[in-house]
Symmetry: C2
């Protein structure tokens, strides 16, 4: 239950890949495709959505590719997923694009609302920076580095 679509998952992984390569300049779709094992054609669709949303910008021509629009700590996982999959909406009642016919008297409405807010704050708190640090941590864990709170959560 409550599965994320592949589009959202690939989107986060693509953003991670762009973030990871910041020092090397723009990252091409081809590179992302190879490193994250997602087809070029599908990534085109996904990255286009994220570009239109302003999360990344593109550089055309040779040497081109995609770059983050902000620093990794300013780009949340929630923001990425919202663009690719729409807002968190456990039920259609709670989707601002649809709306509810029977909000009053619906016993479960508040339950789903509370769950949705819980999920949303989790996703909005987590950023690309956290993913980068979590990744670095996985590689260097044995050297006993200090683990900040949020990263610890990722390793519970």
């Amino acid at each position: 239950m409550l599965r994320l679509s592949t589009k959202g998952q690939y989107g986060v992984r693509a953003m991670f890949e762009i973030a990871r390569s910041i020092s090397r300049g723009p990252t091409t779709i081809k590179e992302i495709s190879e490193r994250q094992d997602v087809s070029v054609a599908y990534l085109e669709q996904i990255l286009n959505t994220l570009r239109k949303a302003g999360l990344i910008s593109s550089v055309r021509g040779p040497g081109g590719g995609y770059v983050l629009s902000g620093t990794p700590d300013k780009i949340s996982i929630g923001a990425i997923l919202r663009e690719l999959e729409g807002p968190v909406a456990i039920t259609s009642c709670l989707d601002p694009r649809e709306g509810c016919l029977r909000v009053d008297g619906c016993v479960t409405h508040l339950l789903w609302k509370a769950l949705g807010e819980n999920i949303e704050s989790f996703l909005d708190d987590m950023t690309l920076k956290d993913l980068l640090e979590g990744n670095e941590l996985m590689a260097t864990r044995r050297r006993g580095r200090r683990q900040p709170e949020k990263i610890r959560m990722l390793h519970k």
Copy 2:
């Protein structure tokens, strides 16, 4: 994103309806259907699943219907949803029925795992009793009753 299927939603509402009518004995599918506005045929399918899971039991023949297998405070929303929609599994990688080919080195694996655990503990903490109290509260709110913590969460 992360929408619950109608099956799960209807299931929770049906269970709520059975819980609400405890004092009046077994609740028939027809009653649930009328009060929650879900077709009899679909409810048969849903309640059958919940019965096989042991969350409710059925009484056949005239005067029959469904009754909860335990007290409302022992039946969690998580338990209901798991039966109708399978385990919380943000990605197929995290579904115990499928499994992951590339757990190691997958940067997002821990992220989805942490989110899934967050959701699961929310759903397992919330019970039918909480829904009943939340409902009662909605009806009597203006009289200024004391609100326990979890119920307050439902009204944030």
